[in-house]
Symmetry: C2
């Protein structure tokens, strides 16, 4: 079967021939339909993140997949059922984080990530997976099933943000997404259409006309140009923000999030930056957090429950939004197009089989 | 009646004569027994924090009080009942934060603080208060009732920290208190005797022999000397910490808390620093928060529910601990002694009437 893989240092993915996998006991065989491409894939391709499985020379890419069960292999799945796989797997047998259904909370060394950290991804015509890591999705939603994984990341982030404010009455009326990439836009759409937050904002650094700014407008959200309004000046230029969602990987935004927050607000961080030293007013940061009961949380990955919530959220997003968000779905013969990047491209996927 | 007040700029408290207050409808008249002194009082005396009530030239000090109801004045209290007053009051009539019992979450301008911000404190022979802000305490605990307010601050901080970790299974096995002042020591005792955390640490910068280090030892906790081990190096020198409680007001400790945390850990900040610019590795801070699901929260003040929990916690603290913690209780004739500070003094109170 064909797979899309990357060799460390090669800098671009290629199609390779791999044997079709045989499901072990407890595993199902899944025929891959579509696999999304995101910033993490580009980090892996560039060699900045992730690693090849032990004993292999290439990593099969892909962690945002949807497929159809080809061989249930005695599991509780049924053939023909559409499924979305979760990403983390236990490295050697299981461990307590996987046993309690919280692989997203496993520390380094206690997980592999398919398509990212030490395990092959889903960009192959078939893949196998323990049935417990395959989340059923309806036929209707299956064509967009590759959006479930990114949405699940935000489900977790929002769950943790809300939990952090659960010791008191907190109803966010304003929210901002820092970053107008596909994850940022999906989260903005969730703020508008799933969480019903009154006033939403999205920070970017693009000029009009731009397809992501069009989506921000159409969502009824306000575009904040970071070249004109630094994150710390958002309260003065717009309003203090109850919920800040950072998806830029830009460390100054993360630190300035504390200034952007309204009293009792929470900033949830998802970007993964490189080391970067700079000067801050640490006293002001500390004082702001304390005197205004503010919170700053990081979150990474997601668990099966978040995938299930993500499927519900996907169902609530308007059709025009997902139409505008997904700017390209490419067959294996033109898979390179799915990895291209420019300002006209928002979200892409590779199609391994038609639905 | 006599009261202990401070004039802005004077730099030291004096005894003043004030009319004994008359309780308004819904208020009780309380005879003051003891009032604790803490770092906030010293900030107020130094003129760094707080302000005098409108139309007055002095602020009566004191926010950590215990008293006995002298005149219930038709409220649901009874004469002779011991009570601890909460600190925040609504500035003009009430507002939504007070209505829902969460004055601790009120933003600037939506609260006064007795003895600190725009309202007279409890360091007078009598005070009045709406009955809803007076929390009953047993006769047995009343002599230590001035510890209820500081304990309530930690009750809130711990409640918020635990809430922030409530979206997953989290049982802290290690905790550190940054700061060996009286609030730090009380919190350390709560970690040991109320929360039963396996391994506790306390950070300070003192040499032995020292009464606070003796208390740390006696609690079975490990003393960490910040002159030898910066906060960021605690994981290497000891272990990564699940729960960091910062009570120093030292901004570098607040920022380095993220390094001290174990994966999925939470740092709760309570210190109130001045502005202070310094260099940080913002990329590392951001990345650590995200990839290890870490959280950093600020909390300030506390509400009636925290006072009620604090009374339960006070009841669980061992007698030797409170004996060693309270190094002096001084009558009005020697009240200045309660405001002295040196390494032999841990916690003091002024006694207005014997119990």
């Amino acid at each position: 079967m064909k797979a899309i893989a990357v060799e460390p240092g090669a800098g671009e993915p290629v199609i390779v021939e791999r044997p079709r996998p045989e499901p072990a006991s407890g595993e199902a065989l899944v025929r891959t339909l579509r696999v999304g491409v995101d910033g993490t894939d580009h980090e892996v391709i560039a060699g900045h993140h992730g690693n090849v499985p032990d004993g292999d020379d290439r990593l099969v890419l892909g962690h945002e997949a949807v497929g159809v069960v080809e061989d249930a292999n005695g599991t509780n799945l049924t053939e023909g059922q559409y499924v979305v796989p979760t990403v983390r797997r236990p490295p050697n047998g299981t461990n307590e984080y996987f046993e309690r259904g919280e692989p997203d909370m496993a520390p380094d060394g206690k997980y592999l990530e398919r398509g990212i950290v030490g395990a092959h991804g889903f960009m192959s015509e078939y893949f196998t997976s323990p049935a417990e890591y395959l989340v059923p999705i309806s036929e209707e939603l299956a064509p967009l099933g590759f959006l479930v994984e990114p949405i699940s990341i935000s489900e977790k982030a929002i769950e943790h943000a809300v939990a952090s404010r659960s010791a008191f009455e907190w109803e966010p009326e304003s929210a901002i997404v820092l970053g107008n990439g596909s994850l940022g836009l999906v989260t903005l759409a969730m703020f508008e259409h799933v969480l019903d937050i009154d006033r939403t904002y999205c920070l970017g650094r693009r000029d009009r006309p731009d397809p992501t700014l069009d989506i921000i407008d159409e969502l009824g959200s306000t575009y904040v140009d970071s070249r004109e309004t630094p994150v710390s000046e958002i309260p003065a230029a717009y309003e203090p923000i109850d919920l800040v969602y950072e998806a830029t990987g830009y460390a100054k935004h993360a630190v300035e999030t504390v200034d952007a927050l309204a009293p009792n607000g929470v900033g949830v961080l998802l970007g993964v930056p490189e080391p970067w030293e700079f000067e801050i007013d640490g006293g002001k940061l500390h004082r702001e957090l304390v005197l205004h009961n503010k919170a700053l949380l990081g979150t990474v990955n997601s668990h099966r429950g978040h995938f299930e919530s993500a499927i519900d959220s996907l169902d609530q997003l308007p059709g025009w939004f997902t139409d505008d968000l997904v700017t390209g779905v490419y067959g294996l013969d033109e898979f390179q197009a799915a990895f291209e990047r420019d300002d006209e491209i928002v979200k892409t996927a590779v199609e391994f089989a038609s639905i």
